[in-house]
Amino acid sequence: MTTTLPAYDEVVARYEPVIGLETHVELGTNTKMFCGCPTDFGGAPNTRVCPVCLGLPGSLPVANRAAVEATIRIGLALNCSIAQWCRFARKNYYYPDMPKNYQISQYDEPLCVDGYLDVEVNGEPVRISIERVHMEEDTGKTLHVGGATGRIHGATESLVDYNRAGIPLVEIVTKPIPGAGAMAPEVARAYVTELRDVLRSLGVSDVRMEEGSLRCDVNTSLNLPGEQWGTRTETKNVNSLRSVERAVRSEIIRQASVLTAGGRITQETRHFHEDTGDTTSGRSKETATDYRYFPEPDLVPVAPDPTWVAELKAALPELPRVHRRRLQQEWGLSDLDMQSILNAGAVELIEATIAAGATPTAARKWWLGELSRRANETGVELADIGATPKQVAELQGLVDAGKLTDKLARTVLEHVVAGEGSPAKIMADRKLEVVSDTGALTAAVDEAISANPAIADKVRGGKVAAAGALVGAVMKTTRGQADAKTVRELILERLGVQG
């Protein structure tokens, strides 16, 4: 059956979307949540396991203090209240990605509750309410054998590696977000972006979506204005910021086409596909949600000392939003200018370039100009363009010292991007330095004058504008490596004319 999907604009003119986001963050602790197994990547299968994370009889879990601390810091950064007393819970399910047949999580007593995160969407502030932040453990990796391309469907057996089982995981859940209207996809993306930046500033995770250390599930539902919220679906496998936006958009369109055709939305898990940008149905939730949670008997309650929480709060780093505002003031930028820096993903690059000695104006000029242009052309992230903030600062230093003209600097930058080394080295290797040696420059000027006597006479006679042709001749003999203004001054001086 092929149906033509409705246009997004028509859909959001008719229906109101409600979204919600559940984000899982793998903490960057040294060891797992409940045992001393290391968390580093890349080990051979089942080399990071012990009796605790294998759930062997007689073993007992003990919670990782660093993971509890990181979760509290995340909660504080998201303006949550920190529970004075809370417990872990067993989430029972029969699936071999956990050897215990349950996952240790938190259920009705999360460590952090009721917070918010302020984000900006197209320069407008939007406050996203946070329902909860809780601790749990990650699952193992399952290889499905015998089916098509590793899929569980049709597989005849599965092979399990428990290296990732028990890695500390923090789940951050928003309250439902109504009222975003057509902007719902952008709001979802802005939230995950800001959350990622907050987590990075806290230093609790490396927050790489592509590698799965930051994972996002997006809930979406539609309703007609004035009616109750619709049935929601949960889209998984959303592995980039761009995908968050695309997943919400495509799910809004899909649900609208079902509803408009008189159908009803099934509460289910859907999987996002990076290549096509749409979602397909996963397992139905109706038969799978009875996890029989109960308080984890093997772990005692966590009751964070209020003094400890206060200390952690006092020691929180400057959060990204505050940091950006301070930078904007320091750099003397308008909201619009700051926005273009944010959109280009250049804040940290410019900050580092300034720290390496460049002025804000110069740093911004290089990163938003030449380098952004190249990044767009070649389709790479600005941070991966091949030039470092230090190199850009050095380049500007050479311009400021009069060793490079702006044009020459751009040439040098091209070679920097190509990986030829530092600007100073490239300038020397490629003999790109401005000809500032007055002797050499005077000789070139004299040569130009004697080669063009008629023009020289015009200039002597007061037609100063004619000097341009002589400047051009000098620039030609110096292969563009002289400063045109200096050349012009020198020509007028040699011809005895005031500039």
Binding site: P96, T142, L159, V300
Partner: protein, 101 residues
């Protein structure tokens, strides 16, 4: 009134991936009911000054430092596994054929 119904036992068996016959269901429901009734007697001694608890020891904050400890070797880890392949635990088909649509 029974503390647990036959339907609840059947549901739990389904969740636990246990194949239970009708006959077993009747026996188990009866036995579980007796056990639960016995445990429920504890509830009769609850008093207002005894808060409900999930733990028998009054401890909180038993936490461990974030220091790497030694792991099992893969051979040790897999030694108790019913089956293994490619240094991984080998498990039977996860989805039933009828739901694998």
């Amino acid at each position: 009134m029974a503390a647990i119904s036959r339907e609840e036992v059947a549901h739990l068996a389904r969740l636990s991936r246990l194949a239970v016959t009708e006959e077993e269901l009747a026996t188990l429901a009866g036995q579980l009911d007796v056990i639960l009734q016995a445990v429920a007697q504890v509830g009769e001694v609850t008093a207002a000054d005894i808060p409900p608890t999930s733990h028998s020891v009054p401890l909180t904050n038993v936490l461990r430092d974030d220091v790497v400890a030694s792991c099992l070797t893969p051979q040790e880890a897999l030694s108790g596994a019913p089956d293994a392949a490619e240094q991984r635990f080998r498990v039977p088909r996860i989805l039933d054929e009828d739901v694998a649509s």
